[in-house]
């Protein structure tokens, strides 16, 4: 029994089936990006065991294709099994062993990357050191105890929890939260006197949030909004609208630009409430990753080719400071030349369109980043070796004839 399972796992027919399935999957997943957007299509096709399909509007769905996780893991099993089965230390086999070993490494490395890698970005302006990066896609509802001006106490609630709705409790909060409304993506309108909803505190006095369809384009992102009620036992303390539109500097700036300086001042005031004799701030913002060091922009260079809009050169000179080691030095980050530091890599990604003096760095933590380099080397050497052997045999054979 085990023997036959092993044999079918090691079979070449399975290999061919998987390669064909992979071809179809990648093709379908690429086409699906047009309608679903890059991110959603990736999750549905490549970060899944099965790809489901159902007619539009129907509630049922059937699996139609194996997903990326399934094809990838079966490939790893298939390759490993066949390597074990056919293992033979000979000159003829050496190239194939090497290249297949490289493919296994590549696949495992990518599965690991997929599960472990964390992407975020960092916005840096001159003279403003920053010690955190933000996730562009995931947000968090934060409740910050700001009573002590020296030290903030933060309770973070992931956005996914808001989507579930209902009541939220946390041991760090002496109160309960109730999600009145949650919008994964929103637009905002300016309206003095409020939007007519039940919530009128804070920014709700002059802003109205409206639900918007989630974005599909790669470069666009969702700006969430939510109405949250704070409850002391069963007694309402009040309700607030929280949103990236209010919390993120460049978005708030865009509202202020339309509505004028008075609104700008209102937006700068944090939304706070009192509970148990302490002052709390409530906000919905991109999820943050704090670091034991800070980066400060020294100089951002952004050149274009003369007379065109084609970017020629992006580079950020930043100062890296680490209080616990006393490290303080300048580094230059530019296209194709990232900074690798403390297990993370900082790439020049772009700049703020509203404020071109602000540079944006992409921050990636990926423990498996080296595997493709190794895998590529193994496979290349293996294939070159194997094909050259073949070619030599072939020409020798022709010469004999």
């Amino acid at each position: 029994m085990i023997r036959s399972v092993f044999d079918s796992l090691a079979s070449l027919k399975l290999t061919i089936g998987l390669l064909c399935a992979g071809t179809v999957l990648v093709f379908a997943g690429t086409l699906a990006q047009v309608d679903m957007g890059l991110y959603a299509a990736q999750n549905a096709y490549f970060r899944s065991l099965l790809v489901y399909w159902g007619p539009q509007g129907a509630t049922w769905k059937i699996p139609i294709l194996p997903g990326g996780y399934l094809v990838g893991s079966l490939m790893v099993l298939n390759l490993t099994a066949s390597l074990i089965k056919t293992f033979e230390f000979s000159r003829a086999h050496f190239g194939l062993m090497l290249s297949h070993g490289g493919v296994i490494l590549l696949l495992i490395g990518q599965l690991a990357t997929d599960m472990l890698a964390v992407e975020s970005h960092m916005r840096l302006g001159q003279g403003r050191p920053s010690n955190y990066s933000e996730n562009g896609r995931d947000n968090e509802l934060v409740l910050v105890d700001i009573t002590d001006p020296k030290q903030d106490k933060v309770v973070s609630i992931p956005e996914g929890r808001l989507a579930q709705g209902g009541r939220i409790t946390d041991s760090g909060m002496p109160f309960t939260l109730r999600v009145l409304e949650y919008q994964r993506n929103s637009t905002v309108g300016f309206q003095m006197g409020g939007g007519g909803g039940s919530v009128t505190n804070g920014v709700a006095a002059f802003l109205r949030f409206q639900k918007e369809a989630p974005v599909t384009k790669l470069e666009a992102r969702d700006i969430p909004a939510a109405a949250i009620e704070v409850l002391n036992g069963e007694k309402s303390v009040g309700a607030w609208w929280v949103s990236g539109w209010v919390e993120e500097a460049q978005l708030a700036q865009s509202i202020a630009n339309q509505a004028g300086p008075a609104v700008k001042r209102l937006l700068e005031q944090p939304q706070t409430f009192q509970s148990g004799g302490r002052t709390w701030r409530i906000a919905l913002r991109p999820m943050r990753f704090y670091k034991p060091f800070s980066l400060e922009l020294v100089k951002f260079t952004h050149k274009k080719y003369s007379g065109t809009e084609i970017p020629k050169d992006f580079s950020s000179r930043v100062r890296l400071r680490r209080p616990d080691t006393g490290e303080s030095r300048e580094v230059l980050i530019y296209m194709n030349n990232p900074l690798r530091y403390a297990g993370e890599t900082f790439y020049q990604s772009g700049y703020d369109e509203n404020d071109p003096s602000i540079t944006i760095l992409q921050v990636v933590r990926n423990p498996g980043w080296l595997t493709p380099y190794l895998a590529c080397g193994l496979v290349s050497v293996g294939l070159v070796y194997h094909f050259i052997m073949h070619l030599l045999n072939f020409t020798a054979l022709r010469r004999k004839r």
């Binding site: 990357t113 194709n336 493709p372």
Partner: protein, 615 residues
Amino acid sequence: MKKWIPWIAVLVMAGWVISTLSPGHPSAYRIREFGKLPVLLNGRVQPFDSMARNALLQIRGRQTVPATNGTLSATEWLLEAMTKAEEADGRKVFRVDNGELLALLKLPENQKYYAFNDLTNGLAELDREGKRIGEIEQANRTVFEKQLMMLFNKLALYHRLKNVLQYEGAQSFGQELEDYVKVIPAGVQAEKARSENKPYDKAAFDKLISYLSHYDFMNRLSYAMILPPSEPGQGRDKWSGAGQHLMDVVHGGELHPVMRYYANIATSFERNDPAEFAKSVVEYRVWMEQRGLTAELAKGSREFRYNDLQAFYKALVIYVLALVLACLSWINGAETLRRSSYYLIVLALILHTVGIIFRMVLEGRPPVTNLYSSAVFIGWGAAVLGLILERMFKDGIGCVAASAIGFTTLIIAHHLSLGGDTMEMLRAVLDTNFWLATHVVTVTLGYSATFMAGFLAILYIIRGVLTRTLTTETAQALTRMVYGILCFALLFSFVGTVLGGIWADQSWGRFWGWDPKENGALIIVLWNAAILHARWSGVVRERGLMNMAIFGNIVTSFSWFGVNMLGIGLHSYGFMDAAFFWLMAFIASQLALIGLGCLPLSRWMSFRDAPRPTP
């Protein structure tokens, strides 16, 4: 005698190539000298000749304009547009194909090209429609709207060209400039007095304003920057346009000396004074040399020679000839024809290689930087592979494959060049010769090899089904070729794809992002691996291998062109409608061939009489 025929064929074609390089008539010589002068356009220094050819390709789809006595070169046409607009307006250069558009402009349908003068009646209509369509997203435009937009853009480009050297309708521009410089002090003073409500010199004021309105017009239409930096030490890319410079002069500062040379060039060409024209061109060159702008002058001359050589066009012609000879050699089995074809392909490949190297030197880049150069390079790779096969097997198959793919890819490249400058500057992220030289070149060679395998498979099917020429020996030879080429294709596409991932890791922080272009490359790898494993396991034999290899053509064309049409992702070049049609046609043709290959062997002409047990 027969031994010499291939050499004679090569000599004749080589003679043709060389003969096209002579400058010809002295008037042509002077125009050529002007064509070498550098300007700054699209962020790069290029000669007037490139500007003229690219503009004419965009407007007319050709690099020359037919005239009553012979043809006008692109530069000559450009000079005419810049200095003698009334003559240029009569040249039939605007290509309009769409029937609805012709009806809108009330144009007769019996011609392909129309002159600016033919279009003047419809200009208001075009302008109105163009503004409306400009608001619509590209993908949502109808065929008519797209065609109208194309004509609209051609007219806009033509309009801008006419105002590069001087504004349209200027008379004795050099004289006017001297006059302008003289009137500035009085005019500026008059303006100042007028704004302070004091009495002012109305004549000087009016004169200055009238000049400025012309120059402002030029500035708003600015296209190429023709004035080099007068202090090259302060930055060599600080070129300026004529309009912009003339507007700046009013704030103090001197008239750029080059402006005078250009004004003389314009006036002397307009008045048909060749001696004065040549003199001004030489004076300008001397000025450039004195300022140390020799690199720019040299770049202009080099790129001029590259354009003039038209290496890819000539290679294309020779490939066609070689293809015809190789096909004929199959029909009558003549070795002389096969050898002639082989030698001609070598000649074409030399030209093809010279063209690629010339481009690399001009750009200071590896061979593939954009879609255009990828087409040129895929053809080059396939031609090299084809020649190697021909050397090994000597049966004409390599010749047919090399010449057919070389010719087709160069045709594709020609159509891609109609979009404009093919040596555009690279965005910051692509600005790395290391990755362009490794990842891009390897992936493109992977495309070449996959296409080559697919093409050989097509030969197998066509010869097998439709002719009696697919002998067992030929069939086996083709199988070995396809197999070997596929091994090569897998190696290059795999290594190229992984290198691309590593580049992405270096610049965006992720090895793999499921971007359409990345996926396209991955599909080629997966499919090539699938074919080879299917062959090794015996799941497919000769015929199955061939059908799978033909499917590889579809996979590769999707990766090369199809993903650019999805209009999403970091790699996309923009939507290409005509290309989309051809891609679909190509895919349909490949599916038809696979269908042909699936016919039972009893229907195959080659096997009908002597069916083999297990092909």
